[in-house]
């Protein structure tokens, strides 16, 4: 068992949220051996925000009518666009130095499946505890029986566009391994970024449908009880501690991380040119 830092639920605007995740990742990849711990952070959004996947074109958003008035930010992670509104968002940063203690084999490049498995199983168990049954989408992309995909076909005729590789614009209308689905709807999606071996994984749990993406139901829309962020985050902390063997201890950002986050926010995530770079 190793110690990890837990940053409790807080809300910020899109650029700040993305900058904090990036600052934790970059700090963890430059600090010396033994100076860093895994960090688990939960957050909300101070206003409904559309986040674009790192490689998505800004012009693609004009095709998604319902989210056009929202503030926008470009994530550092890939995948499709997300309407962050009535959701619980998490980030997990695991420094390179910690990985040998948590993984049988640590690779320096590409996705780390173990972190997807651990976090998503923790979320599935937590949702079940709160009355929402869900499961991991284990099959590769584009399984056709899922409801989001059916609603996606409807939405496409209503103005959604298909990007390169015929991928839907919205993350929650795509399917890939480790996605969590409930009653055929994707309700949890995550993505990773690597920096010098360290890993950032962040993801969204849809709690209920947003007016800016009405075709996507959240967990509370699919069951008779309300799934609330504080209950869900509390449950996930416990489950993830068991799965990763990390003792989560409440903490906050270090001064150097705050300063770096502020700098990254201005230079990258709040910068109009960076948003429009593709």
């Amino acid at each position: 068992m190793i110690d990890g830092r837990l940053i409790s639920l807080e809300s910020h605007d899109g650029p700040t949220n993305m900058a904090i995740d990036q600052a934790i990742l970059e700090s963890s990849s430059t600090a010396g051996v033994g100076l860093v711990k895994p960090t688990l952070r939960f957050y909300g959004w101070s206003e409904p925000t559309l986040s674009l996947g790192y490689f998505q074109g800004l012009n693609q958003r004009s095709k998604h009518v319902a989210s056009q008035s929202l503030a926008a930010v470009r994530r550092s992670t890939g995948g499709g666009a997300i309407v962050h509104d009535r959701e619980l968002t998490y980030s997990l940063v695991v420094p390179r130095e910690c990985q040998p203690k948590l993984l049988e084999r640590a690779s320096a490049i590409g996705a780390v499946p173990e972190f997807y498995d651990a976090m998503h199983q923790a979320i599935i168990d937590s949702l079940a505890e709160l009355g929402c049954r869900s499961e991991m989408h284990g099959v590769s992309d584009h399984e056709v029986s899922d409801h989001n995909l059916e609603s996606n076909r409807d939405a496409n005729t209503d103005g959604l566009t298909q990007e390169r590789s015929e991928e839907p614009f919205l993350c929650f209308q795509r399917r890939s391994s480790w996605d969590i689905v409930a009653s055929g709807y994707k309700i949890v999606g995550s993505a990773q970024r690597r920096v010098r071996g360290s890993v950032l994984q962040h993801g969204s749990v849809l709690l209920s449908s947003s007016p800016s993406a009405p075709q996507l139901p959240g967990a509370s829309d699919l069951v008779s009880t309300r799934v609330a962020s504080p209950d869900l985050s509390r449950a996930v902390v416990e489950r993830l501690a068991e799965r990763l063997r990390i003792r989560w201890i409440g903490g906050s950002l270090e001064p150097n991380e705050r300063a770096l986050a502020s700098q990254i926010r201005e230079q990258r995530f709040a910068d109009a040119a960076w948003l429009a770079r593709r």
């Binding site: 790192y54 490689f55 550092s76 992670t77 890939g78 995948g79 084999r105 640590a106 690779s107 320096a108 490049i109 590409g110 996705a111 780390v112 997807y116 390169r164 590789s165 890939s176 391994s177 480790w178 995550s190 993505a191 990773q192 970024r193 690597r194 920096v195």
Partner: protein
């Protein structure tokens, strides 16, 4: 004729380097190894650097999006980028089939020749891969 992977040098961060001589200058042809491509699984996007950019060893020069992860690429040597394989980003499917010939990413006029000595030979790189994968 395809490059022989056993004759190439490698960075710990999985870039391969073919050091050539052009007009008396040392030029590194750079790509990413078959092992890395395998680890990355299906590549969907690649960001390439601009010609003329001057890199320092270890600097991030590009990024790849694979299934479920974005990963940076790091310069194995320092120098000026002379040429970039501009077709590559549109044909990532071919990277897996031919990582050492079609898969070259950029050619760099090496300014820090000492860095060449820090790269791994094929045997050392294979050992690193077998320990970390």
């Amino acid at each position: 004729m395809s490059r022989d992977e056993k004759q190439l040098l490698y960075a710990e961060s999985h870039e391969w380097v073919d050091v050539t001589e052009v007009g008396g200058a040392k030029v590194a042809v750079v790509g990413i190894s078959a092992f890395a491509i395998e680890q990355l699984n299906d590549l969907v996007y690649m960001d390439l650097p601009a010609v003329g950019r001057v890199l320092t060893r270890g600097e991030e020069f590009g990024e790849v999006e694979s299934v479920k992860a974005v990963s940076p690429l790091y310069a194995p040597v320092g120098g000026e980028i002379l040429e970039v394989h501009s077709d590559l980003a549109e044909h990532l499917d071919r990277l897996k089939e031919d990582p050492y010939e079609f898969g070259w990413i950029m050619k760099v006029k090496i300014t820090d020749e000492d860095a060449i000595g820090l790269l791994l030979d094929h045997a050392a790189y294979e050992k690193q891969c077998s320990e970390s994968s």
